[in-house]
Symmetry: C2
Subunit: 220 residues, 2 copies
DNA sequence: TCGCGATCTTGACAACTGTCAAGAGTTTCT
DNA sequence: AGAAACTCTTGACAGTTGTCAAGATCGCGA
């Protein structure tokens, strides 16, 4: 174990301190673990398999983590950090509702295309959390963060359109998440149209997530 | 192995034939397996655990099934048969759109309340199919059957309302499935409001799955 | 009643898992 | 340079798993 127990902020000096290297190794191991998890899924991933996808041997895990559970949870939190800001730039810079909708759908398709293993892993972990208590708290927290991410998109979308969201945050997230998970499943099953269908369906659904326009009906 | 290889239709005589008993045992084992799977999830369920939830010992599985995979797939197909007709009676006997919507939402809540383990298992298996090729074909087939089940509800709902479905079958299913899975997760996490929220959200979403009314706008 | 096939139990097997201790190798500091 | 702390490898452990073979038990037909 490292001598110091203080958390590792970047050192002011040029040299890296021990704690920084320690945290770097933890991250390195977590990335190897995430790669393996994305390929094999939670159930089939063993510590030895993780180590084989890393420059280290299987025993090193217990030097940097208390055990398998702590490693997995660390991975899950790392995954979350990479996810929840995915649409923020798009939300900040879009100027019309249709521009925001288009860019959001494109990004949705793009992340499925480029990061399919991680998305498979996410749905796998969320299912595992239905049975494994140790995962539940972190999975629920990530789900909330994803919901908030979607809600930021929708509220800005509504704002740009001069309308209101049709549903509240959890319901809106549930609908879009169902759409995305269906695409992940189809993509994993090798359906080549999965990407295009996701984009097309998302762009059809988005307008219905805003409440119907009022006040434009002609006077009687 | 049983002497005859013919499939076991109910015998005309009063006595049960060997093949009938053979199939009965397969079903019995599959039910024990489904119970264990619903409690522990796919990853943590072993053949010995399944056998402990049955009147038999662990070795008997290999007398009735070629191996673990065949047992699991047999279970999954059995699960499907119990699921896909859940809303058919309601579809056949409802006479107004709001009656159908109410009864559908009630049934949705009821099945989550009474059969939560099986629903957990379903989402678990669908996630496992993202990694395990042996499960993929059967899981995809079940997903299609569930989609058709939902589509029967929606087309009848639209018919009773004198309107058209707003989206096609896959998209409608994806949206409602997202809603239901969210409720399964919340229910498993012990949130007591999960059941009520599911019913409330479903009844809010259903009307938006029909295309907006046209032709009722007053003439200019 | 007896015999034979169907059914089921028991026990063993190899493979795999998470865990951890012992020690080798490496870096750091005085 | 030498000691001390840190880092990593190796090998072993106990437990679990799917699989299957050998044999015990059951039940039906003659």
């Amino acid at each position: 174990m490292p001598a110091s127990t203080t958390s590792a902020a970047p050192s002011v000096t040029g040299r890296r301190t021990r704690d920084e290297k320690y945290d770097e190794r933890r991250g390195q191991l977590a990335d190897s673990a995430l790669q393996t998890l994305g390929e094999l899924g939670y159930a089939r991933t063993s510590l030895r398999e993780i180590a084989q996808n890393s420059p280290f041997s299987h025993g090193v895990v217990h030097y940097y983590f208390a055990g398998k559970d702590e490693l997995i949870i660390y991975c899950v939190q790392r995954y979350k950090a990479a996810c929840v800001t995915r649409y923020d730039e798009l939300v900040a810079t879009s100027t019309t509702p249709s521009e925001l909708a288009d860019r959001f759908c494109d990004k949705l398709v793009e992340t499925l295309r480029d990061e399919a293993p991680l998305h498979r892993l996410w749905y796998d972990l969320r299912s595992q959390a239905l049975f494994e208590d140790a995962l539940r708290a972190d999975v629920v927290e990530i789900d909330r963060a994803l919901e908030a991410m979607i809600w930021r998109v929708l509220t800005r979308y509504a704002e740009l359109a001069g309308r209101a969201p049709a549903f509240d945050s959890p319901l809106s997230y549930a609908l879009l998440d169902g759409l995305f998970e269906q695409a992940v499943v189809a993509h994993a099953a090798g359906e080549p149209a999965a990407l295009a269908l996701l984009g097309e369906r998302a762009s059809r659904v988005l307008p219905t997530l805003l409440s119907p326009v009022v006040g434009t009906r002609r006077r009687p």
